[in-house]
Structure formats: C-alpha cells, structure tokens
C-alpha cells in the first residue's frame, strides 16, 4: 500500500507492506522491518530488531493520529506529487485564523498598506488574545471578518496582495 501523507506541511511518501505479522515500510530509500506482536486497536506492539515498542495509531476522517513514547504525529492525506499547504497562487495571500475563536478587533481597513509583522487583527480564544500579524509587506485587498465574528481554525480573515500589484 502506498502512503502519501503530510505532517504539518512536510510530505512523506512511503510504501507499507503487511504480510501476516511481518511489516515493512519503505520511505526515502530507507526501509524498516518489524514484527507485529499484538494489534489491539488502537494499540500496536511492534518488535523492531529485537526492541519491543508500544505505539498507538488510528485514522478518523482522513487524518491519521500516531503516538509513541511521548511523540505524536498527525498525518493528513496528501495528493501525490504536490507540495502541501500553501496559501498563495499568483502572489495573493490569505491571512488565516491561527485558532478557533472570536475576532475581537481588526486593526486595518481595505486599501491599507501594511508591513511585515504588523498586527492586523486580534483573535481571542479561551480568554487569551492572539495577535494576527502580517506575513509580509502588502496591501489589504479584502477583509472577510468583523469584530464579534466566530472563526474556525484556518478560516480566512483577510486577503493581502503584494504592494507592487496595487500600483494602478
């Protein structure tokens, strides 16, 4: 089985083989063999070269959660051959909410010139205010939210264009 997964934007391609209790994974020319000692969903006990290891994994709604020895991975399905995550097409930039919460302030107006690091808006969640800053020098092309608006993780708050596009 081919796996195309992304972990916070890093892309992984791997081949997973399972033949009874013998497991093989191949990624980036590195391969690893293991023996499946016990599968008690979502707990898996692996024997990796004589070392017994307990891991946890389950897949829900296209996302695979993995945990072992205090480290966790969140793998999303990725389309083969594409670089994952990316706002920009032709230089337009969407500024997205870093978390689910409530917009409490928008500092800029459409047409404003903003500089890298400038605070554009404040999103509050769990009584903590979080500044949303401009990723670069740009011009505010559109504002999609107003104070009081509930926003989800990754929801677009504003659209920016590079300052040179604004000329004319």
């Amino acid at each position: 089985m081919k796996l195309h997964l992304s972990h916070f934007g890093d892309l992984f391609e791997a081949t997973f083989k399972r033949d009874g209790e013998r497991l093989t994974i191949n990624s980036n020319d590195k391969s690893l063999e293991a023996r499946l000692v016990l599968a008690r969903d979502p707990q898996f006990i692996l024997d990796v070269g004589g070392r017994l290891l307990t891991g946890y994994a389950l897949k829900r709604n296209g996302r695979t959660f993995v945990s072992f020895e205090g480290r966790t991975w969140q793998f999303d399905e990725a389309t083969p051959g594409t670089r994952s995550t990316g706002a920009a097409g032709t230089g337009d930039l969407s500024v997205v909410s870093p978390m689910p919460g409530t917009v409490i302030k928008v500092h800029v107006s459409i047409g404003d010139r903003v500089v890298r690091g400038q605070s554009l808006a404040i999103v509050e969640a769990m009584k903590m205010e979080n500044e949303v800053r401009s990723p670069g020098d740009a011009l505010v092309r559109n504002i999609l939210v107003a104070p009081g608006r509930q926003v989800g993780f990754g929801e677009t708050l504003l659209e920016l264009v590079p300052p040179e596009e604004a000329v004319g």
Binding site: M1, F16, P42, T64, S67, E69, T72, A125, M126
Partner: protein, 500 residues
Amino acid sequence: MSILIANRGEIAVRVIRACHELGLKAVAVYSDADRTAMHVREADAAYPIGPAAATESYLRPEVLIDVALKSNCKAVHPGYGFLAENAEFARQVIEAGLVYIGSSPESIRLLGDKVKSRALMARAGVPLTPGITSGEDLTDERLAVESERIGFPVLVKAAGGGGGKGMRIVHHPDDLISAIAGARREALAAFGSGAVYIEKFITRPRHVEFQVFGDQHGHRVHLFERECSIQRRHQKIIEESPSPALDDDLRHRMGAAAVQVITAANYTNAGTVEFLLDEDRSFYFLEVNTRIQVEHPVTEMVTGIDLVAEQIRVAFGAELSFGQNDLHQHGHAVEARIYAEDARHNFLPSAGPVHYLKEPRGPGIRFDGGVESGDEVTVHYDPIVAKLIAHAPTRKTAVNRLSFALKETAILGLTTNIDFLLAVLEHPAFRSGDLTTNFIAEHLAGWKPPVSSGDERNIALLLAGLAASKHLPSEVTASDSTLPDPWAVLGRWEIASGAR
C-alpha cells in the same frame, strides 16, 4: 447530603471524588457542550444550565444557586476558575441558605482586589514589590505616573483576578498606553472588570507559593510551598514541592509570612499565598488565590492531606484536622499540566476530539483527568486535558517518574504539549533545579520538536500504515487471521504456579 459542583472538567471530577469519599452525593451542572462530559458521568445527578458559552452557563450565579436549591444540595463547591473567586457569588450562595465551600465573601472580595490587598499587606508588614499599593484611582494617567516613579520594566496586572489573564510586561514608556488597553480588554473578558494596576517587574524571579488553610475557629496553618516557576504565557505548566530553592530557614520565614497574610485578611478554608522569590533570596508578596489551586495535588502528595475533603469539612464548621506541627513534607512531588495546545505555534490552544486516551500507571503516579476516550476538548473552556503528578522519595526520582509516565501517555486526536513538557523535564537546567519564571524564554524559546531520526519517522509511518490498512476490508480478514494468539506472545505460563 448533596453538594453542588459549580464547575466542569478535571476539577469537577476531583471534587466529586472527595464528596464520594466523605459519603456525600455530588450534583453536577453542564452546558450544552458538556451534556455527556466526564464530570457529568461521575456525578450522582446532573442538571443543564445553558448554552456552551461560559457567560451563559457556568458564570451565571442565579442559575447555579437555583439548581442547588432544587436538587436539595446543602453546599456549593466552586472549583477553580469561573466563579471560584467571585465574592458576589459566595454571598448569594450563603444568602440562599447554602454553605459556600471557600472563604467568606468579605475576605474573597478584599483579597480579590489586588490593589486593596497589597495595601493591607503593606500595613501588616508583609514584604511587597514596589508598585501601586493604595487608592481607587487607576486611570491610565496615574498608572503612567507610577510607572515613571518605580522605573521600567513594569508589570500591568488585572486588579480583579489572576492566572496571567490581563497581564502585560512593559519595557518602554512608549508601549505603556497600548499595553494598558490590551490588559483592560483581557481583564474585562476574564473577570468582568477592566481595572488594572502596575508593579515593578522583577527580572529573574522564582514563583514560590504557600498552601494555606484556616478554619472558623481561628486556627491557621501553611502546608509548605509549591514552586511554579515553569510558566508559558504567565500560566504554570510544571509545579513541584518542595521548591529546590528553599532551605529550612527560608521555608520557615516564608511560611510564617503566608500565615500572617491570611490572618490579616481573616481568611478561612483553603487558599494560596503567592510570592516572588528574587535571586538574592528576598521574597515579595504577590497575591492570594482564594480557592483550591490547579496544582493542589503536589501538596496532597507530599503532606498526605486531602485538601478538597478538608475544604468541605471546614466549610461545615469543623476544626482543622491538623495543626502546624502535624504537617511534614514527605519526599518530592512534581506535576505536569497536559494542555491541548501547540507548543510549535506559541502554545495556541487546540480543540478537538479525544479519540483515544491512554493513562499512565505505576508507583507514585497520579492522573487527574477531565476527559476520557471519546470525549472532546472544546474551544469554549480552558484547554487542560489532565494533570499528571509523580511522587517519589527524591526530586530526581520524581522527575524521572514523571518523564516516563508522560512517555507512556498517549492521546490521539489532539495536539498536546506532552513533547514540550518532556523537553522541560529533560533540560539540564531543570534537572539541576535552576528555575526562574523566564525558564522557557531563556532555555526553550522557539522550541521545535526534535527532528525525528529516520527510524523514528519510519516507525510512525509504519503505525500510520497499520491504522490505514485496518480500514481496507480485504486486509482486515486476511491479516487478523494471521495475528498471533495473545496468549501465545506471553511465552511460557502456568496458572497459580509457585509458592504463595
């Protein structure tokens, strides 16, 4: 007899356990978001109190008191957060003929006003950091004048609450006015009052607090210290007792000052007196938290006292079941707060489902959780998942135990701070007890999870492959039949073999 738990999450579960151990029934309340939450499942009865937003449910005194009366409760436990330090709530509870499990409304009001309580402590001779210690006048102009007087950097703090909400450090006079505005907004959202004050910012302090207890018969004791220097966004994430910084002499002096503080405020029930401890071993009174603390378990582990059960007894008029000379510190306890948050991205809260939660086990391990497998951490409330506490004879063993227990914990579905907590616990400066409230900024700024070795990444991918292949129908039957018999992997075994 029944007690109303006016809270949710892990602290509600903790209080319910104490009620049951005392032979009392526990009545829970829940918002629309918490209909099937763990605290509801653990309670003997549960009542709805409104929509998910806390302001429309857990923060409505009249609704909570109404439920308490209708369900024949005799007392109300506020937990921490929400209405736990709200004097008006305490007053209304008592006025309704119920017992409030906490201090008197008068002392909560006095100590809840950080400016008035500083003035009181100044008169009582308790050491204070320079700053505003008097007056009702907390205008921007007054704060600016006082900041110039004591000198920058200064700390802008909410007069009406704690926990780092509504707090700003200001290094330059130019930034003062905007910092005050931000602090006022945050304080208003968190505590219902936009009043803020300022005090001198101590550059490299430790946060050392004393657990205190008073009863209605004039007995007042302290239950030693907790060091809570490891903080992010001014919120504690790792706490321990004893503090590596105190010796018997300093512990004795700070403990005496803590008792002096609650005596001056005529305080009863459980509370916490917070101090800043400077590098030169001077200590300054910070504030009193008029409630049970998140980190109370470390004190319970080293003193062997059930603080929540004692809160309930004392609230009903019992004398403290211990005197100062009965109290001793046994061994060392360390707590780590497991939060649903992303340490990679400035500790932003992360909400979501808990598809699976595996709790750690072992000697000296305590796991105070508020969610189980199948539950959800929502955006509406504090993103704490659980508190993990390790107790051992020495600090070194306690930290090792906590570290192993964190590695054994598995939470699938949420981003948690477990890997970050491990990075703190494994840091040489933490190991040597060299702590300040700047610890994270000084040692772990811009922290990223360690780059996985190839093998580590491949093991993660292999586990991902196992999770994915499980959902392919053709493989499920094929592979399940080839799985080893679980008994077979145990090796040689005999039933009831060997001598007794």
